[in-house]
Structures are given as C-alpha cells and as structure tokens.
C-alpha cells in the first residue's frame, strides 16, 4: 500500500502503463484516499430540487414530520412531499474538495491529496404528495365548541389544540394546514383551534339573518363593523365574525363617507347549510318533499338549487319515489383507493356528474377527475346510453 508519500511521478508512470495519452491529460492529478474516519461519517443524501436548495440557502427550514405508522413527509411552507429511501447497487463516493477540470488548468502539474468523506448506497428522494389531513378533523372533534356557557362543563374536557400542537401532529405544510382548517370551518378561540357545533353555528347564522332583516340591510352589503359592534349581540364577537366569514365573503365598499368593509352573504353556502340541517341524521328523505321543505326554510329572497348540494348530499334517481340522503365528502377517507372503495360500496355505478364532487379533492398535481377514474374505475354504457363507472377491483 502506497502511503501519502506517493509522488506525481508515480501517478504519471501508472497512467503511462495504463496507455493513457499523457499529452492529453491535465498535468495535475488528484490522488483519492478514503477517510480513515469513514465509518464515523454518518450522512444522509437527500435529493432536492433547485427551488428547495434556494429555500434552504435563504435560511429557511424544511420540516420532517413522521409517525411510526405513517410515512415520513417533508414540508416546505406550502407543499408536502413523501420521503422515499432508494437503494442503489452503485457506490456513491462523497468528495468534499474535488477540483473541477477548469480549476486545474495552467501551471506546473502537481499531485493533490483528496479525501473521500464516505461511501453511500442509499439516498432519499422526495415526491410531492397530498397532505395527510384526515387526522385533523378527528383531533378537533375531541372538544367541539358549543357556546361559551358550556366551555367548563364535563362534555368539554377534551384536548384543545394550538397551531403549534397541530403542526407537530399533522403531516402537512403550514399553508395546507391553514387551508384545511378553513375548509373545516374551524375557528381560533383563545389560542385554540375549535370546530363549531353544527346546531350552534346554525343559531349564530339565524341570528345574523334575523338581525340583518331587522336592520333592513341587504344580504350582499352587511356592514361588518356595525353588526359586530351592536351592543345587544347575544353571541360572542369572534363567532359572529367567524360565521360571517364561513357563510359570506369580505368586500370593501365605497360609500359617500369613505370605504367600509361589508360581508356579502353567499346564497349557495347559506342554502347549503339549511339543506344539511334538514338532511343530517335523517337517512333517506323523499326528494320532492325535501325540495319543498328546503325552499321554505331558507331566508326570504334566497333561491335553492340542486348544485348547492354538491359534495353534501346524494340523490337516488332510480328509487320510486326518488330520495335524497346526507353524504358529505368530508366524512370520506382521504386515501384514493379507500375513497373509491367507500364510494362503490355506497353505490355500484356512478355517473361522472355524480361522482366528480366526491373525488375532485383527490387530484394530485396535473391529475384530473378523468385520470383518477381511469385508474380506479371501469367505464360502461347503460342500455339508455348513460355512461357509468364501476369499481375496477372487488369492493371490500
């Protein structure tokens, strides 16, 4: 074994024996040694895209969140990636101080000793994935807000979660987590994220509608500050505001006195609430009767239509009479194959129109409802010409 005393001459004579054209070689040679401490050099190789390198260079972190049962994920501020370990039969040598050819040219030849830090056969890869959010709903259900007066009773001893708590429990990026909290209509009360009891939310909504009617404000121009500032409000300000945000949208309106913030009540979302209120816990509801009752229950001036029930309720057109039942997409599994299994268990054959609201949220980047169906369902045409989808695999 030649030690570090090896000379440039020796390396060149070896190159000559190897029949290399010395005139075509750069005159400097790098002699590679394996570090004596190689075994202690524990490193992990992580494949990143250039944008993540820039993210790290700017001083930001990537968060790794893993469970014993879950796969580990890596989160940036706005996206989630699955962490996958890949084995290779090749040897990957890590060389801290290798000179590139352009750094070697010119001058007399010299021999540089370079140390290989370690040899690896494994690296970690990242694959963009949907955040794993289902657990969020379950966690928040441990202590649902049903009104300030009930906060200290025995039904409200369940755990409450701060944003930090949720980050440590949910495999999602900050942006995705906050988006999901908004989708679940969670409200931030006294530092904790809480789901609001469905009936309690309805009472707040009804109170807002009554107040708006009483003040003769138009539904599309509710003066936010005036409503929240009313002295005899029976509901806490934070919940009134939350309810306005859930069932309306903020907008700045120009009045003669200057700009004022208003809430535009969403007809679709308000009507959707009343539909769920009627359908929840009922099972099947005669469609004709439901439509009549629903129409009569919504605030005067609002119009119901079946599109407001997308992803909330399912209509069975084949039964006589036709029936409707509560079937919210939020109650379905988040894993795609589990989701399809549940859908095909509920109904053997689906039309594109019926199934779309129940799978749209499963689409990964560049994926469409159509490509999901190609993967998980089989298309066929009924005698009447309707195209339907059924399961590709036996339903569990």
């Amino acid at each position: 074994m030649a030690g570090k005393s090896r000379t440039l001459q020796e390396t060149l004579s070896l190159a000559e024996q190897a029949k290399l054209d010395l005139t075509d070689l750069n005159s400097s040679v790098q002699s590679l040694y394996l570090s004596p401490d190689m075994a202690d050099h524990e490193v992990r190789l992580l494949e990143l895209d250039s944008s993540m390198v820039k993210h790290l260079e700017a001083g930001n972190s990537l968060m790794v969140r893993g469970d014993k049962s879950d796969m580990a994920v890596v989160c940036t501020e706005d996206s989630t990636f699955e962490l996958k370990s890949t084995q290779t039969t090749n040897s990957l040598l890590l060389l801290p101080d290798c000179r590139a050819p352009e750094q070697l040219v010119g001058g007399d030849g010299c021999l540089l000793h370079k140390e290989v830090y370690c040899i690896s056969h494994v690296y970690l890869e990242l694959k963009k994935c949907r955040p794993k959010l289902k657990k969020l709903q379950t966690l928040l259900q441990e202590n649902v807000f049903t009104g300030p007066e009930y906060e200290s009773d025995e039904k409200h001893t369940g755990r409450k979660y701060t944003t930090t708590d949720l980050h440590s429990l949910i495999q999602a990026s900050e942006k995705e987590l906050l988006e999901e909290l908004r989708k679940l209509q969670a409200v931030h009360i006294d530092g904790y994220w809480r789901l609001v009891d469905f009936d309690y939310m309805g009472n707040v909504l009804q109170y807002i509608i009554d107040t708006v009617d009483c003040q003769s404000w138009p539904y599309d121009q509710i003066p936010t500050d005036k409503l929240l500032g009313m002295e005899d409000n029976v509901y806490p300000r934070v919940l009134l505001e939350h309810c306005l945000d859930c069932y309306g949208d903020r907008k700045m309106m120009e009045f003669h006195g200057g700009a004022e913030q208003v809430h535009v009540l969403s007809e679709d979302r308000v009507c959707g609430y009343f539909a769920e209120y009627l359908l929840k816990g009922v099972g099947k509801f005669n469609l004709a009767e439901f439509l009549q009752t629903w129409k009569e229950s919504v605030p005067v001036g609002m119009t119901t239509n079946l599109q407001q029930l997308e992803g909330v309720a399912l209509i069975d057109k084949k039964s006589h009479p036709q029936v409707i039942s509560h079937f919210p997409v939020t109650d379905l599994p988040e894993d795609a194959s589990d989701r399809f299994n549940r859908l095909f268990r509920t109904r053997e054959k689906w039309t594109l129109e019926d199934i779309s609201p129940y799978i749209r949220d499963l689409c990964e980047q560049k994926q469409t409802v159509g490509s999901l169906l190609t993967k998980f369902a089989r298309a066929s045409t009924l005698p009447d010409g309707t195209k339907v989808y059924n399961s590709r695999v036996p339903v569990k």
Partner: protein, 132 residues
C-alpha cells in the same frame, strides 16, 4: 409523531459544494485491511475535461454530469445546548405524543457528479503489485 427540521447553517461564502463520484458495484480491498484510510486511486482529467480514474489495475473512463436535482449532504446536529426551562411560551408547549429529534444540518450541496459507467479496462503491463 416525530418532528425535526433540516437547516442550512448560514455561513459566509455559502454552503460548501461537494462532488459525487459514482462507481458501479462495490469497492473491495484485496487484503482484509478494510477500506478506511486506504488509497483509492488517481483521478485525472483530460484536457477536454473528461475524468479518468485509475483504481488498482483498472482504468475507468467517466464523464462529468450536472445533477438535475442536487443532493444535500445531511448530518445530524450535535446535541443542542440545554434550553432554558423558563421559556416564555404560553402554549401548552410540546405535546406529549411528539418526540422532537435533533435537527439535520446541510453540510454540503452536491450539484455535479463524476459517473464511471463503462466497464473498467485492465492495466496489463503492471509491473508491481498494488494494494487494491
């Protein structure tokens, strides 16, 4: 759940850049001395920039490849200094079901690799025995 961060220490001159040398198969020594501390071989570059590696009595012709996706070399951060117990956090703090592991630091970024994919050519006239 286990949670930790991957960070890049903010140093002057930025994160060091390393090179990866990719060889097919596994390196072995002729004797049982093991790899650590041993000489691996000589790395030449042709004037055109092509890498040539002489290992034992083998010649390997390779090429320089710019990685489409760079690698980060991660090392576990050494035990942090004990934090003050009197943190001003009003939160319930770390939840019991969360284990906070030490963070990983980006020791280097690898943007280029030297790949030696071709079958090694033997050096025939080798007059004296090499270690490996």
């Amino acid at each position: 759940m286990v949670q930790f961060a991957i960070r890049m220490p903010q140093t002057e001159g930025g994160c060091p850049e390393w090179t990866m040398v990719e060889l097919q198969g596994v390196l072995e020594t002729r004797d049982s001395s093991g790899l650590p501390g041993n000489r691996l071989g000589d790395l030449h570059f042709t004037k055109g920039g092509q890498p040539i590696l002489l290992i034992g009595h083998h010649v390997l012709h390779g090429k320089v490849v710019e990685l489409e996706k760079p690698f980060a070399v991660l090392v576990k951060e050494k035990e942090k200094e004990k934090k003050d117990d009197s943190t001003d956090s009003m939160d319930t703090g770390e939840s019991a079901d969360t284990v906070t592991c030490s963070d990983y630091l980006v020791k280097a970024v690898i943007r280029n690799k030297l790949v030696f994919k071709n079958r090694p050519r033997p050096i025939i006239n080798l007059t004296h025995k090499k270690g490996h």
